[in-house]
Amino acid sequence: MSKKDITSKNSMATFLKVLRFIGKYRFLLVLSIILAAVTVILQLYVPVLFGYAIDEVAATHEVNFSRMWFYLSRILVMIVLSGAATWVMSIINNRMTYRTVQDIRAKSIRHIQKLPLSYLDGHSTGDIISRVIADTDILSDGMLLGFTQLFSGVITIIGTLIFMFSKNVWITLMVIVLTPVSFFVAKFISSHSFQMFRAQSDARGRQTALIEEMIGNQKVVQAFGYENRSSERFAAINEELRDSSQKAVFYSSLTNPSTRCVNNIIYAGVALAGAFLIPGGHLTVGGLSVLLAYANQYMKPFNDISSVITELQNALACATRIFDLLEEQPESTDPAGTLNDVKGAVDIRNVSFRYEEDKPLIENFNLHTEPGRRIAIVGPTGCGKTTFINLLMRFYDVNGGSISVDGKPITEVSRHAIRSSYGMVLQDTWIKQGTVRDNICIGKPNASDEEVIKASKMSHSWEFIRRLPKGLDTVLYEDSLSQGQKQLLCITRVMLCLPPMLILDEATSSIDTRTEMLIQEAFDRMMQGRTSFIVAHRLSTIRNADEIIVMKDGSIIEQGSHDELMARGGFYNDLYNSQFVRVAE
């Protein structure tokens, strides 16, 4: 099978899937198509009737009023019908498109909740968003509107040809032969203006780069008194852009006048031929006016259809991307088991895990903790610390071995049961757009203000929350807070619900030492009596841990208390000393 066959087969399959999606609106779709046919035929017939009416207005004292009235009253009925049909059709089309979009998006967001993190981690956020938002819009516009437009375009062409042929064969043939000329003219112009558009987008690209640099770093520009030089550089590129833009805009704007000129010539041709034919009785004056009207419109459906076909192809491409997302295998089904009154004994046996098939990351991982113990995990970057958290929370499933909480394998309890037993604070903070209260109460939606304030005082976030313009009711945006403040807010979240076990990823990079100390204190307070897993960076955390796990290349290479490990003089000893040296210079 050739490649093209496969693609066309794929797009056929996609098309069928789309049809299944809009299946529940099939009644509306059929109705829309019928209405489209009705309006097109009515609208094409109206000029014909006007032609007949004009024929009755022959000359002085020769006007046949009763027949003229007959045609005009029919016209009135038809335009009202056609107007009503058009409006209803638009409403139906709107309903179909918007509801389909809504359906697809609702389905996507539900599917996203169930997708394994491996998929979400492996795809860029922007890419998935554009599937859910932009692709969906293009799909519905292109598919549904394209479909009806394509249909009415075809009916218009057939109808126009029938009506024209019924008026005069020769003139119709002439129009059919001459119209492609304007296509060629348009094509010629667009292929020649392409070069100029390239030059324009090139200049625009360079200008945008300069803008991003200079305006993006405007403070530096000003600090160095570079303002004049930056203006000069901008002026040079701006001049270039002006030059290339002017050419591009001008040449591309030639298409309309040129095709209009071709059409005018065809129009003149129709008039000429008509004028010669009328005296012979092959055509009436009214008939000529119909032909002239059609000659003007004849081009339009062709343009429509060609743009609709591009849209349809585009829509199919988008549909493929959406279905790729929707058909992605969700997480394995959730068992119904629950965990009651978690003590916090975690047992990890022979666990192995890999992100990629042929790259084993964690192998033969064993760890047992008694309730209430404090486990510090240390090791160089990429040793598998984050992966370990992913496995504990069951964000990822192990490839081999098992993890149990209080003796129950986590694959036998529901994900909610296991996840709600842990309080998790990640280095990578996440704030959603909403009030401070909304953000803190994620884990406990109906917490009272007293509880929230108490939690935020305990986690030292109250100091900055208090100073926000509206306190707890301040709406937070992506960058309303500093990194350290976000971190404190995330800790407050966990502080509010305080589950029996904790997973903490110590953040060090973006926080100054003093804030870090506050955070540390908050951490310490939370950890009391709770089984805690801490990805540790700070010496004090490491030293105070009941057990230290030293990871390297996915496995535990050393395990024990600080003193034990130091005495052993192994990897931990080296690591500890190097950190010590670093901090103390």
Partner: protein
């Protein structure tokens, strides 16, 4: 809009000629039905083949002439709109160069970039379309009416009634739907935001088992969007059928009236065809006009936004020339006298009541937590912001009395964010001083511990950096930005936490070489590392905008609680020593 209009003034000629030639094109368009009428009423009625052929060639000539004038019109429109946009862009860019930090903070970088790019492009589009089409459609509509009057007054009266009614319908529908479209965009933004939040926050949502809440919140805004879309759709979908029905009713009345007029001998059949054509032409133009107005409306909104930037004035005024540099040669490079400062639109002050003075040639360390006001303090030295209360003096003279140029020459800043620019290393270093020699650049690089980096690059000083210097590591970038400030040989050097990406050894070497600069350079070192500022002549400890302590390291260890906390958290072994010697316990 008026703010931008002046930039079109240089293209006055083009802005008049473009619509004028468009008008000529309309005239040719309007003449066509008349010629057709003549063919019918004279040529066909008298079966005069010569006349018909002659009229045919007139039609062809008119088509050619129409093409010529409309190309001319397009040319002038392109020239005027593109030229106008270029001028606006330059004006906005130059204006931004003059804004102070306060305005830059308020407006935001992203906004400024969008205004300069997308918005100006939209305005260009609007001007171009406006010049070409805004007059064409009214010309055709009114022209049709005028032509109708030349044919038959009674029939023309139908045009007089029909046109305002059509205009009214088109505009009512449009003005109802345009604000609604904006609302739709707002709701779509919400749906997009929620989708993003669901993806970026997936771990948190799952950890707190909030999947169902997330879905139901999404469903709500998804439904709201659909509902609004359908509502707007109903209104805007009225436009086509309503105008179609109205224009055809007008045509029916027209034919009926024309019938009577022809019967009375007041006009001929061909003229009826002409009137019919005028009606048909009008409706096409009205619809075009409607969509044009939507485009223009959008670009007006963009124009307003662009003009908004131009209307923002810098809140900071610099004296043209320094009022005779007072030769108060006190030994004090920088002094703060009860300085209080808060950022615009924030409540609590970021700095309150700060007083200190820095001796010429000394090194001043500034330490404190995130948001304690360290960067704000150094920004006030360079007068990037003005203090709300109190005074900042440089060499005994108020910073407000220095000209912008003098101030910039005096002070070299190494900002927190290591921003480098596309271009050679030499280009970047010459930001410090335009006429710096290579020798001076190498000297600065050596001091900044960056000599080795540059030496290892192909072409050394000619090595090209990519945008934002992204082909260098963070530490390399920081050292180059330090060198850039050093090229200036400033009297006051400010390093705003600009050694954070350096390892401790390089950091120490850097401090040593900065110290050796000696002379009159007063250095301000902002840092979170106690080690970096330990040796400074004066250390300022900031805590939540307050000056928690000032003095040397030893003085502060003895007297300042905040400083002790910071210092001991980074030097645990020192705490043990301290606790042993003093018998006091220190919180950690």
């Amino acid at each position: 809009m008026r703010t931008l209009a002046k930039y079109l003034r240089d293209y006055k000629k083009e802005s008049i000629l473009a619509p004028f030639f468009k008008f000529l094109e309309v005239v040719f368009d309007l003449l066509v039905p008349i010629v057709i009428a003549q063919i019918i009423d004279v040529g066909i009625a008298c079966n005069d083949h010569g006349y018909i052929v002659q009229r045919f060639f007139i039609l062809i000539l008119m088509a050619a002439a129409g093409l010529a004038v409309s190309i001319t019109a397009q040319f002038f429109a392109a020239k005027a709109s593109v030229g106008f946009a270029a001028k606006v862009r330059q004006a906005v860019f130059d204006h931004i160069q003059k804004l102070s930090y306060t305005e830059l903070d308020t407006l935001g970088t992203d906004t400024l970039i969008t205004r300069l790019t997308d918005d100006v492009n939209q305005v260009q589009n609007g001007v171009n379309m406006g010049l070409r089409l805004l007059l064409r459609s009214p010309f055709i509509v009114l022209g049709s009416m005028v032509m109708a009057f030349t044919i038959n007054v009674r029939c023309a009266l139908i045009f007089v009634v029909a046109i305002p009614v059509l205009f009214l319908v088109v505009f009512v529908i449009m003005f109802l739907s345009i604000p609604l479209f904006k609302k739709v965009q707002g709701r779509l933004d919400t749906v997009t935001r929620l989708t993003r939040e669901n993806l970026t926050g997936v771990r948190v949502i799952r950890a707190f088992c909030r999947e169902e809440d997330a879905v139901s919140e999404f469903d709500q805004s998804n439904l709201a969007l659909t509902k609004l879309n359908e509502f707007v759709g109903k209104i805007s979908a009225l436009l086509n059928p309503a105008t179609y029905v109205l224009i055809n009713i007008a045509t029916v009345i027209l034919i009926q009236t024309a019938g009577i007029q022809v019967n009375l001998g007041n006009m001929q059949q061909g003229e009826v065809v002409a009137l019919y054509n005028y009606m048909a032409q009008m409706i096409v133009e009205l619809i075009k006009l409607a969509s044009l107005i939507i485009t223009l409306n959008k670009s007006m909104a963009c124009a307003d936004r662009v003009a908004g930037i131009l209307k923002v004035n810098s809140t900071m005024n610099y004296p043209e020339n320094t009022s005779a540099v007072s030769k108060v040669q006190d030994n004090c490079a920088v002094a703060f006298d009860h300085v209080t400062f808060s950022y615009k639109e924030t409540g609590a002050p970021s700095l309150s009541d700060i007083t200190f003075s820095a001796k010429k040639g000394s090194t001043i360390g500034i330490i404190g937590g995130t948001g304690s006001g360290k960067s704000t303090l150094v920004d006030l030295i360079a007068r990037f912001y003005d203090a709300n209360e109190g005074t900042v003096t440089l060499d005994g003279q108020n910073v407000k009395d220095y000209s912008r140029k003098e101030l910039r020459e005096k002070i070299g800043v190494v900002p927190q964010k290591a921003a480098l620019f596309q271009g050679t290393i030499r280009d970047n270093l010459s930001w410090g001083r335009e006429d710096a020699t290579d020798a001076e650049m190498w000297e600065a690089l050596t001091t900044a511990q960056a000599r080795e980096i540059v030496e290892k690059k192909d072409g050394q000083l000619n090595f090209r950096l990519e945008q934002n210097g992204r082909n260098l590591s963070g530490g390399q970038r920081q050292r180059l930005t330090i060198a850039r400030a050093l090229v200036k040989k400033p009297e006051i050097l400010i390093l705003d936490d600009s050694a954070s990406a350096l390892d401790f050894a390089t950091d120490a070497a850097l401090r040593k070489s900065l110290h050796q600069l000696g002379g009159n350079t007063t250095t301000f070192l902002v840092s979170q590392r106690a080690a970096s500022i330990r040796q400074a002549d004066l250390i300022l400890v900031l805590d939540d905008g307050q000056l928690a302590g000032k003095g040397t390291h030893q003085e502060l260890v003895n007297s300042c609680e905040t400083y002790r906390e910071i210092f001991f958290s980074q030097f645990p072994e020192e705490r043990i020593k301290y606790e042993k010697t003093t018998g006091k316990e220190v919180l950690a």
